[in-house]
Subunit: 501 residues, 2 copies
Amino acid sequence: MTESQISINSLLAPESVAFIGASNDPTKWGCIILKNMLHGGYAGPIYPVNPKEKEVLGLKAYASVAALPETPEMAVIVIPPPAVPAAVEDCVKKGVRAGLVITAGFAEVGPEGKKLQTAMVANAKKGGMILIGPNCNGISRPSANFFPQMPSIFPGSGPLAAVAQSGNVAASLIRRGIKKGFGFSAVFSIGNEADLHCEDFLKFLGDDPETKVIVGYMEGFKDGRRFFNVAREVTVKKPIVMVKAGSTGAGAKAAMSHTASLSGEDATFDGLCKQSGIIRTDSIDDMFGIGTGFLNQPLPKGNKVGIVTMGGGWGVLAADTSANFGLDVVTLSSRTIARLDEILPSWWNRGNPVDMVAGTVGGVVPESVRILMEAPETDCVILLGVLGLMKKRPGPSDGKPDLVEKQIREALQDLSDAFDWLKSLSHQYQKPLVIASEIPFTLGDFENRMVQMLGQKQIACYNSPNMAARVMSRLVAYGRYRRHYSKMKPTEGGKNGIQGA
Amino acid sequence: MTESQISINSLLAPESVAFIGASNDPTKWGCIILKNMLHGGYAGPIYPVNPKEKEVLGLKAYASVAALPETPEMAVIVIPPPAVPAAVEDCVKKGVRAGLVITAGFAEVGPEGKKLQTAMVANAKKGGMILIGPNCNGISRPSANFFPQMPSIFPGSGPLAAVAQSGNVAASLIRRGIKKGFGFSAVFSIGNEADLHCEDFLKFLGDDPETKVIVGYMEGFKDGRRFFNVAREVTVKKPIVMVKAGSTGAGAKAAMSHTASLSGEDATFDGLCKQSGIIRTDSIDDMFGIGTGFLNQPLPKGNKVGIVTMGGGWGVLAADTSANFGLDVVTLSSRTIARLDEILPSWWNRGNPVDMVAGTVGGVVPESVRILMEAPETDCVILLGVLGLMKKRPGPSDGKPDLVEKQIREALQDLSDAFDWLKSLSHQYQKPLVIASEIPFTLGDFENRMVQMLGQKQIACYNSPNMAARVMSRLVAYGRYRRHYSKMKPTEGGKNGIQGA
């Protein structure tokens, strides 16, 4: 690990933690965040610091950082702004390596806060202590059961990482992850970026073996040039999907009062994203949807898409969206048509999208996907509707709980096998497969269990044909960037305004 | 009721029904659709017609339409294409007023099918019988418990109506309705529109007292001029939110093979939408989201939006999206700022969005919404986050089922009161209020019950700030159209290429 890797690791998975501002008052963040850490199951010692309490939430409390029995590796800081610079000084004296400053009321509120923020950072730098925040709502490292964070939500461990300048956007991402069964390697709410910047976390995540895809929400950059240099290093290893907010006058004003961020020219940012391989989007849902859609996908070698659909309207919507986002809904070759003719009913549409026509059952749907995967004219495949993947559909259960449970389990196993097969197909042909479907039937809590099952397999299944096509278009764009980059000489990047890494 | 009203009423809520092609084979549509009708609880007599069966699903079966003991008001037709023209002739001879032709394999498959379709319509016209379809998946009229449809999904009764040229898009809309607790007045899957066209259903729904908002999915129009004339009549009474698919070359090709629709020039359609007040969108989710967002909303008198947010990032995203879609994120007057100063903590951002800052509780959030509603500088208000509306938040329940249930009920009542109050506020000031929020906490099956509660109140609550702003922008555009139209002389429309209604 590099030095910065080691440092950020002290934030994410420390040996021990001081909690400065721990409280027994359940309405205070000093209580809620500590509770979240305890609930999360962090294994190391936590030392509450509060001069007025003997115990906080059952843990022995200490009057000061100086009084702690050992040097904690990191500190969570939740005290009012004026007291923070001194607390950081205390941490430095004790030898604390890293601090998470939750407290708000710094640069984002005006010159007074700005002064406190500057003093806080100066004190940290004296001792080589790194800081995340202030004005943030915390971090999560599920693999270390470490959740020093404001929201009481606990995602599982997984390959998605998030960096957000907004705490409530970070929380929105976590909520989507929990709902869809996707886990996180790390979530950083980075607030005002007084010390560590967005790019420090990107750099860490680029090298973090737990992380496969990075999603990010930013309103502005402290050091745009460094950010883009780091992004460029990272995107040749793993994708970064990013919302850059504050892109309009109204949004920029709101961003200024939110995280004291100067949003900058939107067109410039857009251009720099294209040059650095960042996948830009404009909403939390797209960021999460595209991010999860990139997990475990081979990158397409071109923009030619084949579509298999269980319903005509969905097919038309996917074709429109594909075309609008630069994909080529490729004309199928006579050889591919002939192969489909062998398995599809006589009246099939002989076009792309391949319309399965209502009621098509049996192995026809998976076989059609295989034929489009094998077809030399496609670079990638979209599948709309998963009902046709099932070998057997649940019969009537008359609401009998035992039978319902049995049917749900059989259906989940059936779908699980089908998705595993599709994933292996996708890797065999090195073409990405993006899937959208309605939940195929209503049966007890089947929907939730199906969604969780897919999330745990790191498979995104969208509920809209438009979204499937949009995600595919981003896979194509990222694949193009990666091919282009691999051909470039190391110095060539400079010509486009970005220095070589 | 006009004559066409009476006729379409025969399709939606007939006194009695013949089911031509009824079957006991559970894999056949003639069985599945009949089962759906029985499950739906239709009260009138159903006469299965099948020369080979004595009984179908427990109902006495008849060898032919001629053999039925009375004249059924409508007929559901599920037999193979070559037999359909004769069946329609039989219906006409018996005096049947309306037919629903589910069967596919007509104009959409080629010249042979086209011939059958022409013969079928000619036979119907001889007796003044109207037809919906062919190549459709049915209709629903929940208020009449009438569900002659392919999918086994049963929405409640409500104010949303849907007209779709695609059966699976109609089903997607129904699924979204069930999931979100919104009911439908009617759902028409209109297929090839051999006899009745999209505009016939629009006209009916325009006069239908059960219907408040119409959503539609179309790939092409049989008679574009008539469609726009009807749309223009309807949109001065109620909004039409529409997806026009086949807008790209790839989509148009797919539409041709799907419903034999000529998609036409997309830019022309776009212009005609603007002139006829149709709210155009491009996805099923937006169609449903915008459609439900229009229910029970006063129309804004201008584009000036005030935003109250529980989180900074959500506020910035809403401000960006508002600005991108033509809303003015208005600068708050000094009087409004002063009023907010009285209730908000000293460090509040004094801008729009009004940022509640993490942890704001009590009556501050609803009071801030009221202040923005009262402010003369706003035309409409967006609220992001509903947790702050609650008088009391659920405490720890330790998973005890009785306590969890009690807490869920209290929380639902608390939120229900808050939403009722917000609705009355919106009507008092005649300014629309659009709300987006995460589900505020995790507690048993609270999420689903909260969503259903809101749907039953006909309140849309989005999970994305971008969507809230997009919906508001459509309310503003529709409000502008309605104001503009009300000022126009009846003949003026002709200048824009559309004849006066």
